[in-house]
Subunit: 563 residues, 2 copies
């Protein structure tokens, strides 16, 4: 195109860099892979700058850990400051109410309009399941960047009862873009809310057809269970493009959804956090152009991403070479696997020619199906042969048998206990074990499980204390309302209150999983019993609590043991 | 003064707000006191803004925790952004090499000269012992603010061998200010370095007498042990004013030091972190004016600080009222204490009149000397009487006997274990206990103690792993250098290397306490033995390490138990 027409085009065209699941800090302590996520964030930001995009849109999980390390926070701040501040002017306007769009800091406006910050590339991000809000304040790691003015965190719904997604309305020249976002919410809960029609996407009243409607979401897209994902047909028909975060496989080319109503782009993660086939797809980010209601997505391959090759081998298919009865069958198996790995390494090397930014050692996974009477071999000796050439020498080989289900844990909540057991399950097992004569008299096993999981998964140190305080206060209110005074009555009544239909305990559990829930909305249910006693009860609060603790001897020690 | 002379004066006068030991986040989970430190930081920043100071100088311990909570980081970022950004111009220049002054981020220049940030009040801060640098990167919480461009972190010495303090040279009109800073270093080490003449304060070559020399330090000022403090006479004579952080008692009026050579101002903390007499002194910050080599310090009382009253009572002094043999002596003691507390509360109330910003419930401490045959009484019942009027009802009364030494732990490293025992001591005791047949064969008790203390005190999760890696690598190098191969020899040689004159293990210990030490300078000592084997050794590194671990069975379980 001629310079003038290009200029004309640019004036009305949004150029948006799309990326998701950067998982900054993933394996940051690994001697080989420690720098990977930092290099890739750097590449992504550099790419945004070189392409002079209008803004960057991130689909969640910028951080791998809910509480990122100091190094991780420091690096993210430094890189964003380096690449996203500067003199290039931002040429689009925001027409919506920014105090509604950006509601997680004291500065409820888009960063590039802050007169104290010189932003050249605004970053808009929803939070993912890894970096979701926690604690009484409902803050997430992204909010630190947001308070610093480096990121615009949007799509944080503060209500648990209904979600109203209010778009960031942007205009560049004649193009009008409505940016919707919804930060990660447990799939089951969001599924239920969609079913109950508690999710609303607001639309501008005027010129509804004039807007390009873009939606960023961070949920399971593939079905992990009956309600453990969000079916595309749940989403509103008026949408034009959905940027789907959370799923790590790069399927970035926009594809029409089943009903042919809108497109979905799934950029995928920019780092492999599991050695599953989905992560082996070449990683890309996208350069999305929107003009009027037309769009174009350019795939940009990431150069700093470590290569990942995966192959399957079924031993029973090699009966012309060996069977379980063949002498020295182990050596033959090893030789076969060795050859397969070498094959992948050669492929990797070929592909890497002319790519100086690509790390030298690739990730390699060989899934060995040993069904049919074969035995596994010692992988540590095998690994030794590849320490110099492979980034993951210790887990190259993965033995499995036919029909063994391989779960992609990378996409699920990370297993925090040995052998993939979730902490919550461990707590349940602990209390179920008959020989453990431990019985919770005040807390519930479910609440305890959730609290301990928060503690472990999200490093949420107050989770257990919050549960205890919450349950204590509830029980106290219950006892006060019933006018219970003697010790025996307290015991009996507390147990009755403790194992009812479940209404009481669910409040405490949801308090933990829905951190943004305010304490006022939380106490609503039991406000009646509280007001019946008024101020008098509040006064003796400390005394009652102390007595309760000594009286019921909440078994905290087993918990410490489990952790 | 007339407007014109005032203007003239201001043009050459540095106006500096001086504060220290803000301990943001201290007791942030306390229902009553949780907001205190946040309110006071807000007041301090507001005061700086209202007084239109040129800059704020902080003497360390802005944060109470080495790893501040999300809430704490979020609040500090928000408040600094709110108060320190804006259009008021900064009218002094920096003449020194900023890459030397501000060396902890990728942005080695003063924040107000960054063209992307609109800073109205630059903050200069050294780090304290609470928020000191940790980890392999040597970063501290302040560096997150520093990377965000909200604070200028200076005075961070990266060397352990010698300290060269290079001043930030500032000029406003005709006044030239040399700002020296030294972030907190363990007192014993700094004491030793001073004695060994390893601490140098650099001075501008020209016009040495034309500079006002200001030094910010964060160390023990009062003698806690023979080398556990920094005597004032260690400091250079050419200094004009020393801002001494770390000591919590407010002695902000500049006082000449013993040798009459320079002045020392000790602003004290802006929150009481212990209930000792030093903390009961009224809290102030300072407005320092420097013109030429003249200075003036204006004390500004802090309004948001919770009042703290402390009194001593010696029971034996009341023999006209009761003796240990008096019937119902306990009640009489309680009545006396009750009266004393009421007295303090009345005093507090009187003082609080007209101070709407001062929190309603004061801190109250009554130290009861019960020597002479008295017995202590139940304080929990006593506390109940004051739950509505005192911020610390549970620890109003502190029983002690004559000659009992009351240590001001607020100024020392916080006791992390029950009963004031330090973690390090617990580890030592653990290994010393004869019935524990646990012996460390590879690690040292001293190193282990330090590592566990880092883990507990500073939430430094990698400390133990780093110690193990470090000690393993040292041992491996040692074994390689000696050409040891058989298992018996390894065992014997490793033990020999493990309990020598101490040189080896000290390296690992100092690695933990001196995080900024680079790995290259760290391996210097043993580089000879390493190069003798060259690449070959590096290749088998993983294998050797794995064997070592299984061979020596490093007893990690007892550690987990201690934590």
């Amino acid at each position: 195109c001629s310079p003038s027409s290009c200029l004309l085009k640019d004036e009305d065209t949004f150029k948006i860099l799309i990326a998701t699941d950067i998982h900054l800090g993933y394996l940051e302590k690994d001697a080989i892979r420690g720098q990977d996520t930092y290099n890739t964030l750097n590449e992504i930001l550099d790419c945004a700058k070189k392409n002079k995009v209008d803004f960057i849109l991130l689909g969640g999980d910028l951080f791998h850990e809910n509480k990122p390390s100091r190094r991780c926070l420091h690096s993210s701040i430094s890189m964003l400051r380096k690449y996203c501040m500067g003199d290039s002017p931002v040429t689009f306007n925001i027409l919506s109410d920014q105090t509604v769009n950006f509601n997680t800091t004291q500065f409820p406006w888009v960063n590039y309009q802050d007169e104290n910050l010189n932003i050249s590339i605004p970053v808009f991000s929803i939070h993912g399941n890894h970096d979701d809000p926690t604690g009484a304040e409902g803050l997430c790691a992204l909010d630190l960047l947001s308070a610093s003015g480096l990121v615009n965190h949007f799509g944080h719904s503060h209500s648990v009862e209904r979600i109203e997604i209010s778009p960031v309305l942007m205009q560049k020249g004649s193009t009008k873009l409505a940016l919707y976002g919804l930060g990660s919410i447990p799939d089951e809960r969001l599924y239920r809310m969609f079913v109950n029609k508690q999710v609303t996407m607001l639309r501008p009243k005027e010129d509804q057809d004039g807007w390009f409607n873009l939606f960023a979401i961070h949920q399971n897209r593939s079905k992990h269970g009956p309600t453990n994902y969000i079916p595309e047909q749940f989403l509103d028909d008026f949408l034009d493009l959905v940027v789907w975060g959370h799923e790590h496989e790069c399927l970035i080319t926009p594809a029409r959804n089943e009903q042919q109503l809108f497109y979905v782009t799934q950029p995928g993660s920019s780092v492999a956090t599991s050695l599953s086939p989905g992560e082996a797809t070449k990683k890309h980010i996208g350069l999305l152009k929107v003009k009027g209601r037309k769009m174009n997505m350019q795939k940009i391959p990431l150069k700093t991403v470590r290569q990942f090759f995966i192959q399957d081998v079924v031993l029973a298919d090699y009966e012309d070479l060996f069977t379980p009865e063949t002498p020295q069958v182990t050596k033959k198996m090893e030789d076969l696997c060795y050859a397969k790995v070498i094959e992948m390494l050669e492929e990797a090397e070929k592909e890497r020619i002319g790519c100086p930014l690509t790390p030298e050692k690739p990730l390699v996974r060989l899934r060995v199906d040993y069904s049919g009477g074969f035995e596994t071999f010692n992988t540590s000796r095998f690994s030794q042969k590849f320490v110099d050439r492979v980034a993951n020498p210790k887990d190259i080989i993965h033995f499995l048998r036919k029909h063994e289900v391989t779960i992609d844990y990378g996409k699920l909540i990370k297993p925090t206990a040995v052998g993939g057991l979730r902490v919550e399950d461990m707590v349940k097992q602990y209390f179920e074990a008959a020989e453990q004569k431990v019985q919770l008299s005040l807390l519930t096993e479910q609440g305890m499980g959730k609290a301990i999981q928060e503690y472990v998964d999200k490093d949420e140190k107050d989770a257990i204390e919050e549960l205890i305080t919450c349950q204590l206060e509830k029980t106290q209110r219950h006892l006060q309302a019933r006018g219970v005074t003697t010790e025996q009555d307290i015991d009996a009544e507390a147990r009755r209150c403790h194992r009812p239909s479940g209404a009481n305990l669910h409040d405490c559990v949801s308090f933990l999983t829905v951190p943004a829930l305010s304490s006022s909305s939380f106490s609503k249910n039991s406000s009646q019993s509280q007001t019946s006693r008024g101020v008098e009860f509040d006064d003796s609060d400390d005394e009652v609590r102390e007595e309760m603790i000594s009286c019921y001897k909440i078994p905290l020690l087993p918990v410490a043991f489990i952790i």
